[in-house]
Amino acid sequence: MGIHQKTKSLSSRHSALADTFFQLKVLNSKELTDMRFPLFSEKIKEAGFSDGRIKPTRIEIFQVNIGKLCNQTCSHCHVDAGPDKKEENMGREALEKCLEILAQYDIHTVDITGGAPEMNPNFRWFVEECRKLGKHVMDRCNLTIVVANKKYHDLPEFFAEHQVEVVSSLPHYSALRTDSQRGDGVFEDSMKAMQMLNAVGYGKEGTGLKLNLVYNPTGTFLPGNQASLEAEFKRQLKRKHDIDFNSLYAITNMPISRFLDYMIENGQYETYMQTLLEAFNPAAVAGVMCRNTISVSWDGYLYDCDFNQMLDLKVAGERTHINDFDLAALESRDIVLNQHCYGCTAGAGSSCGGQVA
């Protein structure tokens, strides 16, 4: 069966948006639009962040984006990942440096993301080493990778053996909705992969093996109530495919990278930003994920979150690389905010960890 690519990466299309500086200009109304939106840093003053700044609480999650290589090319991807991204992938040396940091500090969770992180040849070794350090490991798995090639078919067993928490994107329980965002055939392969994960105990009660889903809207609308969506996903996936999972996290599409490109192409950018702004929820500001996460790129730079990473907004301060990692300095830094942050504060808020305001 296999999947069909939905689109091409911005870089391979030579799109102006492949330049992160250009994306920031659009977000700040200096390119392509005249519509002005209040500065995010001004807006959060309403939420009691009176100096317009957000500080970390404590770094608990070490998120490593180990590469942009992916077997899919979803139309909304904030990483601009795809099968053509053969260069931007983390090598052994940088991963070893990450392990050194993890050994040194009391950061309990390692969140491995990509691309399809499993395509990095160092992936399994890295997971094993993190587990040896006693860390909780999360893998952001796109599901289809499990059935993409024979060499990945045993991933469910590998995950189970190392008690990896699997966090997977599934934008809908309908094939049409899912494939319209992720590519034809993605839904069918995702169902197969979930069944394989279920077969080794993932998503099943009493096994302790967590399979969590990430829902994001397949268009320029906001996600609905997380609990209600979770209940409906559970009912439909069980009914039609006999699939079980643990929790569903509803997240908002961020107005960056390929989703930004999609909106501009379809004349939806301004309306969407307006929607995010109107849904601004002061109560969601305190729970944004950058407060307890540090994000590392394939080349070892440090960011407040995966979104800032994709906009090349490095952490504030002098020490911006894993080679001069300084936890104390990081925990007292100001988080770098920009207009895309409205995506994290709309409605109940958007956190890949599932906390909603």
Binding site: H172, Y173, S174, L176, R177, Y215, P217, T218, G219, F221, L222, P223, G224, N225, S228, L229, A231, E232, F233
Partner: protein, 112 residues
């Protein structure tokens, strides 16, 4: 102020303004409305689908736009949305056809 058309999608955004000319009633309506659409015995998604079907029955373009977005937000898909509209259409067709019995009764009275 003259417009060339009756319905302007932009007017939906002004819905809240109906309170300008009668605030207490508008306030009551909006708080009732918000309460109705909350998750209850029916889920928010089911309520949005009912609203979409009713919107097609009353043929309100504002409601159709609003509940198309609403249904998608609440996690409905195209198939569910189209089925909801068929329910509305079936009731409409049926409610005309069922009067066929009245026509038949009357015709039978009138004819030999």
């Amino acid at each position: 102020m003259s417009k060339k058309h009756y319905f302007d999608p932009e007017d939906l955004k002004k819905f809240g303004n109906i309170g300008e000319w009668q605030k207490p009633l508008a306030d009551k309506f909006f708080s009732y409305y918000a309460e109705v659409f909350k998750e209850g015995a029916l889920s928010e998604r089911e309520k949005a689908l009912i609203a979409l079907a009713v919107a097609h029955t009353v043929q309100c373009p504002y409601c159709i736009d609003a509940y198309t977005s609403g249904c998608l937000e609440k996690g409905a898909d195209e198939e569910q949305m189209m089925e909801a509209i068929h329910v509305a259409a079936a009731i409409r067709a049926g409610s005309s056809l069922v009067y066929g019995t009245q026509m038949m009764n009357h015709a039978k009275n009138l004819t030999m």
